[in-house]
Amino acid sequence: MTTKSLTIAGAPRRRKFPWPTFGRAVGLTAVVVTFVAPLAWMLLASFKTNVDIYDSSKMFAFLPTLDNYGTVFGQANYGAYIWNSFFVAFVATVLSLVLAVPAAYSMSRFVMGRSAMVVLLARIIPGVSLLVPWYFVFSQMRLVGSFAVLILSMMFVSLPLILYIMMSYFDSMPEELEEAAQVDGLTPIGAFLRITLPLSMPGVATAGILSFIFAWNNFMFALVLSGASTKTLPVAIFDFVGYASIDWGGLMAAAVIVTLPIMVIALFTQKYIVSGLTAGATKG
């Protein structure tokens, strides 16, 4: 009995090779390697001298140097650019949230389809076509080169983004909650502030993070509208590309510094970002 059961248990059962799992692992590895390789190259190059960067035999084995980071923070004064980028992205995000969240709420609750369409236009018009008129208007107002104009231009991108994420978020929240609050004596605004808004904080976080990332990365508006003292990181990074000389090491060190905060934010808030990007995607 024992022998038999042992035999059965120990019999070489032909287990099917887990092709789907294997295929998935291979697929995932291929995708990860493809996407991570440039980042890894960037990180390695930021610790190399210009001669070593071009030498393929020194891809992984090289004498690391911190000189490039020294250039970035010393000579190139990146501390100021980091602050500029952070200030512009942060203020633009906060102002956009203050304006767009109540707007999204009204558009969702009072079914203002056409208004929403108008706002969406801002996302459809290519930003570059607005640059010349913007520059003209803002230079007449003597605003070019100020933080104000950078913040306003970033809000142009982030407002519609936040609006649309929040609209779909509010659409998915049951109105009964607010009705119940109003039965208990709250005004419609009070119901929004005390019930709906606290419940929609995950949505606000998602919209805020995405808006911050877009503003942090924006190059085109900052190129034309920033000044010497308000230059942001994506524009400043080009200081390493000169005529007839490119400081690859410095460029890569600066690129690491631009990318790092966004990668950290993305890693820790992945859940919100994915839910934000897919918000409204499953609605029939």
Partner: protein, 428 residues
């Protein structure tokens, strides 16, 4: 409806408040001012002049407000700002051959003739003829040449010695040397140069001129002339036959010079301004085996381009042109040009080149090559048109066909037709 109006009013109010609150911290522009707003490209010249600006400020009592950008970003910014009629730029650094004609035609550049006449000590006639012509539009001077460059031959002294070869002085000798060196040294290419369709055009131009061709003749396209086809076949053929294996066809100077700097090629032709990428040990593994020679002779002689890569101009929309001119006058004065040239940036003043101190910082062979080029040089390195970027794409196509071993005469014929249509369109 009520909500919509309220929302709009609220949005407007916040917008106005934000703008109003932050408007106080901006600089003003427009009228004559003690602040000269100067826009410069990322360039070694800019780094040098930045150190000297305090001298200018002390001399004149003016303050310089500097904006510095990469060359492509600078172009983009000019396109937007000058198009909008900005008065927030006084002095602008620009590329006379790439955008000079466009800027002059659109009236972005202020005329300088009267100022030049008034500044006799400063001496406009001291500027080299080719560069001075490139900053003149319809007989009016609109810019002052700043940095010059020409095409030189970079070579590996050790490989030439090994093969027992002399430095090539003709294109035929260059081909022979490239062949012998590449055969004797497996893994080392005989020759490398730019391969990108648009990027290669400027370096190809010296070959074109030296074979006796040109991009156009009296407003008619000439890229399928027998001389031009020969030049295309030579340039493309050199890279096809003696270039690195599986060479990419979108290399600009950065990639091409890196191949040479890593010791993977024997000969390289490119701009003289690139020499520090090859001559400094921190950038190059061949810095101690580097030779320089003037551009080799073709059937029509040695005719490299010799051009002003950069110039300074005054923005015609600026209300502060008098002070802007003071900056240009200072930055292009004999003393300043001598100082920047001593630090390795070739200028456009004849007297500085004649001064021994003016060539002291360059390797002797390079200085000799540059001076030889300046004598034989042609004052442009790309089609002289308004839309240079598009023209370069058209005339650059047969180069790429040659590099990949394709049918060059057919490609030149196609390019000719396209370029003629382009010229007709532009001259309308």
């Amino acid at each position: 409806m009520k909500h919509r109006v309220a929302l709009k009013a609220a949005a407007l109010a916040v917008g106005v408040l934000t703008v109003g609150a932050l408007a106080g911290c901006t600089t003003s522009g427009g009228e004559a001012s003690d602040v000269v707003r100067v826009t410069l490209a990322n360039h070694v010249w800019t780094d040098l002049i930045k150190e000297k600006i305090p001298e200018f400020e002390e001399q004149t009592g003016l303050t310089v407000e500097l904006t510095q950008l990469g060359e492509d970003q600078l172009s983009d910014q000019y396109n937007v700002k000058l198009n909008a009629g900005t008065d927030e730029i006084d002095v602008m650094m620009y590329r006379p051959l790439q955008e000079g004609k466009l800027f002059a035609q659109n009236g972005y550049l202020a005329e300088l003739d009267d100022r030049i006449d008034a500044a006799s000590d400063w001496d406009w006639s001291d500027f080299q003829a080719g560069p001075a012509e490139a900053t003149t539009y319809e007989d009016t001077v609109v810019g002052v040449p700043l940095v010059t460059e020409s095409e030189v031959l970079y070579y590996r002294t050790d490989l030439l010695e090994q093969a027992g070869l002399e430095v090539p002085t003709t294109l035929a000798e260059l081909e022979n040397a490239a062949k012998l060196v590449s055969e004797a040294n497996p893994g080392v290419a005989g020759f490398i140069a730019r391969t990108g369709r648009s990027a290669a055009v400027t370096q190809f131009s010296s070959y074109l001129f030296s074979f006796g061709g040109d991009f156009s003749e009296q407003g008619t396209a000439a890229v399928n002339s027998p001389e031009a086809v020969e030049a295309y076949e030579y340039y493309g053929g050199m890279i096809h036959k003696y270039g690195p294996q599986n060479v990419s066809t979108d290399m600009n100077w950065a990639e091409a010079s890196a191949i040479f700097a890593q010791g993977q090629a024997a000969f390289y032709t490119d701009a003289s301004s690139l020499y520090q990428n090859l001559a400094l040990p921190e950038n190059s593994t061949v810095s101690d085996k580097l030779g320089y020679a003037p551009f080799p002779e073709g059937p029509a002689g040695s005719k490299p381009y010799s051009i002003p890569a950069w110039a300074l101009g005054l923005n015609s929309g600026s209300g502060n042109q008098d002070n802007g001119w003071k900056f240009i006058e200072w930055a292009t004065s004999f003393d300043t040009v001598l100082a920047t040239q001593e630090a390795g940036v070739p200028g456009a003043r004849t007297s500085v080149w004649d001064d021994p101190a003016g060539t002291s910082s360059f390797p002797a062979a390079l200085a000799a090559a540059i001076q030889a080029n300046a004598q034989n040089g042609v004052g442009y390195d790309r089609p002289l048109v308004v839309n240079v970027a598009e023209a370069r794409e058209i005339v650059g196509d047969p180069i790429v066909v040659g590099i990949t071993g394709g049918d060059v005469p057919a490609a030149a014929e196609t390019a000719e037709q396209k370029f003629q249509a382009f010229l007709d369109d532009e001259n309308q």
